[in-house]
């Protein structure tokens, strides 16, 4: 337990005192490494022995008793926070170097970086509602300042303000849920909430609804995902990797923790979670196809993967609601394993995108191409990340997806028709999502790293990125491969976290260990067969070099290649009604045309149809109250005077 306190203090102290130092990033990397070890030791102990431990301390005032409870679920998320935090710090060392060279001050940025990691760790640790909200707010505000690193650019500022507003709407819903239970149960402790909900199950639906909406906005589920595609491209890449890999998982942690408090959710709620998660997954991947900004594409993919995690959670909830232990265990283990996998390959992909931006200074993939020649390590790591996120064997995305498929098939064997239809449509939906992800990532990898350079920005890249950036990417890629071929050890290691939701001993009985064993062996064999084939082929190489066939044209032009938009255009033609495509075109005119250009981008249809009209209406309504805020100093002093008089009158009246 002291390890945990030491880790928290270390994170905070190094952040506060060392961030203004000249070699701050190096000190921070070292400190975060030590803190990671300090977090890993108790986490591993809790996961292996499944004995949660507690520390209570008393804070004065209304907060009262603050229990820090560290059980297997918290340990799982704590490991993700610590490891990804450390790797992001190492990456930041290389990424921030150009900014430091240009004398931009990164001191406060690093302070908020460490406080973000510390706050995320606290969020998974505390079990007192008010302290949880305090840590949650520290997390939101730190990430806000991290996103606004380059706030001199107007789009970055706009994105950070939008992010700020979304985060506070989400906190409002969470506060509503906690306040409801606090008033009813009279205590702020999560354990007391659980007791109360066990005795009065009629409140569980409204409580789960409020907290699911709140945590869902943070995680990035469908109707409220709009902050993700703006905040992630605006933030620097180490922050995007950390946010997308870990911070949106705290939303998932919140959902899971509230579910553990309730115990058995109602079927209606489970079906709605499944439905919304499926729609998020489909929507995310569909919009990712249409993007040509590399980080915005990755942000929409985060929405898709959160949807896949949500489908796993939905299956688990349906298992709890209908009392089908196999569905429960397999569904939650698939979801949690996908949380782990997503944090690894998403951070890897964001770090790769950051490496590309670091070298070419553009995120627009239409201007890139052929980077694999000059940046081989980045290319291989990005390729591993791309194959992993599509869920292809032998990497880790495949294992979690096939666990979710397995759980759905097991659930469908049941005789309940509504359950069968819902699971079958999610099954087909997940298959569709997987295939669209293949389309999207062949585009992302193929246009950026393959082929020839489409513009000078890409041609002028001389070498690969610095060692710190490369090493963090290589470590993450290695994790992808290891978890992909040895999932039985990983699942065996984490199995106690899945046990939070099922009855005692259920996990041991129902975890599909044989199935995971088979999948392990198959992935390992596939890896070995591919490697052996490559080695054998390497012996028989008899190559000659010549230009590709260009239909008889003498010089192949890089403009002859497919662009990202043309690659997906045939698919987008079929799904045209689901997008709003804005085209900016100036056609060539006159006999000797001087200038012509064409640009297109896709806008989020849900934002245009649902969110923006509501915002416009609010703005119109609030304009009427503009008269109260007219900047007139005398009027503000008058407000203060009226307030004082009112207070005086009310106190006198209360006395009488």
């Amino acid at each position: 337990m002291s390890f945990i306190l030491a880790a928290i203090i270390l994170y905070f102290v190094t952040g506060v005192f060392l961030s203004r130092h000249k070699s701050a990033t190096m000190f921070l990397s070292g400190a975060n490494f030590v803190a990671m070890i300090l977090v890993l030791i108790p986490s591993v102990r809790v996961l292996v022995t499944n004995c949660p431990f507690e520390l209570n301390f008393f804070l004065p005032g209304i907060i009262g008793n603050v229990p820090l409870r560290f059980d297997a679920l918290s340990a799982f998320f704590a490991i993700i926070v610590a490891v990804t935090g450390f790797l992001a710090t190492v990456y930041a060392k290389g990424y921030l170097q150009p900014y430091i060279d240009k004398n931009k001050s990164v001191g406060s940025h690093l302070l908020f970086f460490n406080s973000l990691i510390c706050a995320m760790f606290l969020v998974v640790l505390v079990q007192n509602a008010l302290f949880f909200l305090i840590s949650w707010e520290i997390m939101s505000i730190s990430s806000l300042f991290l996103v606004a690193f380059e706030s001199e650019k107007p789009e970055v500022l706009k994105a950070s303000v939008k992010y700020f507003i979304y985060m506070h709407v989400s906190v409002l819903f969470i506060i509503a849920g906690f306040v409801l239970l606090n008033i009813k149960s009279g205590s702020l402790d999560f354990a007391a909430f659980a007791e109360f909900l066990k005795n009065n199950p009629q409140y569980s639906n409204i409580f789960l609804f409020l907290t699911f909406v709140g945590f869902g906005i943070k995680a990035g589920f469908f109707p409220f995902h709009n902050w993700l595609p703006d905040a992630h491209p605006a933030a620097p890449s180490h922050v995007s990797g950390l946010m997308s890999g870990v911070m949106i998982k705290t939303g998932i942690y919140g959902i899971l923790r509230m579910l553990a408090l309730v115990g058995v959710p109602s079927p209606a709620l489970s079906y709605s979670v499944l439905f919304i998660a499926l729609v998020s997954a489909l929507y995310g991947v569909l919009y990712a196809l249409a993007q040509h900004d590399l980080k915005k594409l990755l942000a929409y993919h985060s929405i898709e993967n959160i949807g896949i995690i949500g489908v796993g959670i939905g299956c688990g909830m349906l298992g709890l609601a209908y009392n089908l232990p196999l569905l429960t265990v397999a569904g939650f283990s698939g979801a949690l394993l996908h949380v782990l996998n997503h944090s690894i390959f998403k951070s890897l992909l964001f770090f790769g995108a950051g490496a590309v931006y670091n070298k070419t200074h553009t995120k627009n993939i239409e201007l890139l191409g052929g980077l694999a020649r000059k940046m081989p390590v980045t290319a291989v790591c990005f390729l591993i990340g791309a194959v992993a996120i599509c869920g292809l064997p032998p990497l880790n995305g495949f294992v979690s997806e096939i666990l979710i498929y397995f759980s759905m098939l097991q659930g469908m064997l049941n005789h309940n028709i509504i359950l069968f239809s819902a699971l079958m449509f999610s099954f087909a939906g997940l298959a569709f999502v997987g295939v669209m992800a293949i389309l999207c990532f062949t585009k992302a990898y193929g246009i950026v790293f393959s082929g020839s350079a489409r513009s000078g920005l890409s041609k002028n890249v001389k070498s690969d990125v610095s060692f710190s950036m490369k090493s963090s990417m290589v470590v993450l890629a290695a994790f992808c491969l290891i978890i992909g071929v040895l999932p039985k050890y990983v699942v065996g290691f984490f199995k106690n976290s899945f046990a939070v939701f099922s009855a005692e001993g259920d996990v041991q009985k129902y975890l599909p260990i044989n199935f995971i064993d088979n999948v392990s062996n198959i992935a390992l064999t596939l890896c070995a067969v591919c490697f052996a084939a490559l080695v054998v082929r390497g012996f028989f190489r008899n190559d000659r070099g010549f230009e590709v066939w260009g239909c008889g044209y003498d010089k192949l032009n890089s403009k002859m290649q497919y662009t990202a938009s043309s690659f997906v255009s045939s698919f987008l033609e079929i799904t045209k009604p689901l997008f709003i495509k804005k085209v900016d075109v100036k056609r060539p005119e006159a006999i000797f045309p001087t200038e012509a250009h064409y640009g297109s981008h896709v806008e989020d249809i849900e934002e245009e149809l649902l969110i923006n009209p509501a915002l416009r209406f609010d703005k119109q309504l609030l304009q009427k109250f503009r008269v109260l805020q007219n900047g007139n100093l005398q009027q503000y002093i008058l407000y203060g005077l009226i307030f004082l008089v009112l207070m005086l009158v009310m106190t006198i009246l209360a006395e009488c």
């Binding site: 028709i417 079958m424 082929g451």
Partner: protein
């Protein structure tokens, strides 16, 4: 493990894909009033390609070099899951159809990137079309395979052969629909008319052929063998739905081989009888699989309802 079946299937895997290609060409020649190349010509082409050198463009990166080999390795790995002659499966595991699709998907992923790697507009076009068409096939295949698995309460590929001997009237409704859908899937994934014309090299009509335009030598040999094996595997799935599984081993192997060649003749006839569809209509053609899959799903639901009531 039945050694006889294992050896027969090894021989079939080595021989039948090429013979199937030869049979398809012979059928098309027959319908065209020509004599056509010999049935064993693809073997000679394969051996000829093995002796040639590979021409690699300096424009390409490492992906172009590894993709054909990995494609071949993944196709062989996928062949381990499909029940071949005599219902023999090398690896029998739950959710086999998910493993089958995703392992083939890995090979497809790398071949699409390798096509984009050449930096030529031809390969980009083929890559884009190949990626787009396969998106429409997967969900329908998963619905069909999932419904068949739930219908027969068996989660592996064995469910396809069990469906045959189920004795339930509904299986007689499912089998023709599933065969039709799987046949459309064969036409799409193995790039046959009316989806793609494997003979022409006109850019208007190419999908798979144009993706491999710049591969040569051993790479091209491996790619050709991989596509032939893929067609063989999809035919094996169709045959599993149709052939009764309770025959003795030798007869089963003979019937399997004859059925594979028969499917080759049917594919050849379809290729001769229809013209390649316009690109837009290809999407509609591929999408026909989805309503068929929903019909099979509805039949499975009705069976469950009847079982409940």
């Amino acid at each position: 493990m039945n050694v006889f079946l294992f050896l027969m299937n090894l021989i079939f895997l080595a021989v039948l894909p090429f013979v199937m290609l030869g049979v398809i060409k012979k059928t098309k020649a027959f319908w065209g009033g020509r004599k056509g190349p010999g049935v064993f010509q693809p073997f000679f082409d394969f051996v000829k390609l093995l002796k040639k050198e590979s021409v690699i463009s300096p424009q390409t990166t490492f992906v172009f070099r590894i993709a054909p080999t990995v494609l071949f390795a993944t196709t062989l790995a996928a062949a381990c899951f499909v029940p071949l002659a005599g219902g023999f499966t090398l690896v029998d595991v739950d959710c086999a159809f998910v493993l089958f699709s995703y392992i083939l998907g890995f090979g497809k992923f790398l071949s699409i990137i390798a096509a984009l790697d050449t930096g030529s507009s031809f390969e980009g076009m083929g890559a884009s079309r190949e990626a787009c068409f396969s998106t429409l096939v997967e969900p329908a295949f998963f619905i069909i395979a999932g419904s068949v698995c739930i219908f027969t309460k068996n989660l592996g590929f064995e469910s396809f052969s069990i469906l045959n001997s189920f004795g339930h009237t509904f299986s007689l409704l499912i089998i023709p629909a599933a065969v039709a859908a799987l046949f459309i899937m064969l036409l799409v994934e193995c790039c046959r008319v009316p989806v793609d014309d494997p003979n022409t090299h006109l850019e208007l009509t190419m999908i798979h052929e144009v993706m491999i335009l710049d591969n040569s030598g051993v790479d091209l040999a491996l790619i050709t063998w991989s596509s032939a094996i893929k067609m063989f595997l999809y035919s094996a799935l169709i045959i599993n739905l149709l052939l009764p599984s309770v025959l003795p081993d030798g007869l089963n192997c003979l019937l399997f081989a004859i059925s594979v060649l028969l499917i080759g003749v049917v594919v050849g006839t379809v290729e001769s009888a229809t013209a390649r569809l316009r690109m837009l209509h290809v999407f509609e053609f591929v999408f026909i699989m989805t309503p068929i899959a929903l019909v099979i799903l509805a039949i499975a639901v009705i069976k469950m309802y009847r079982g409940l009531a």
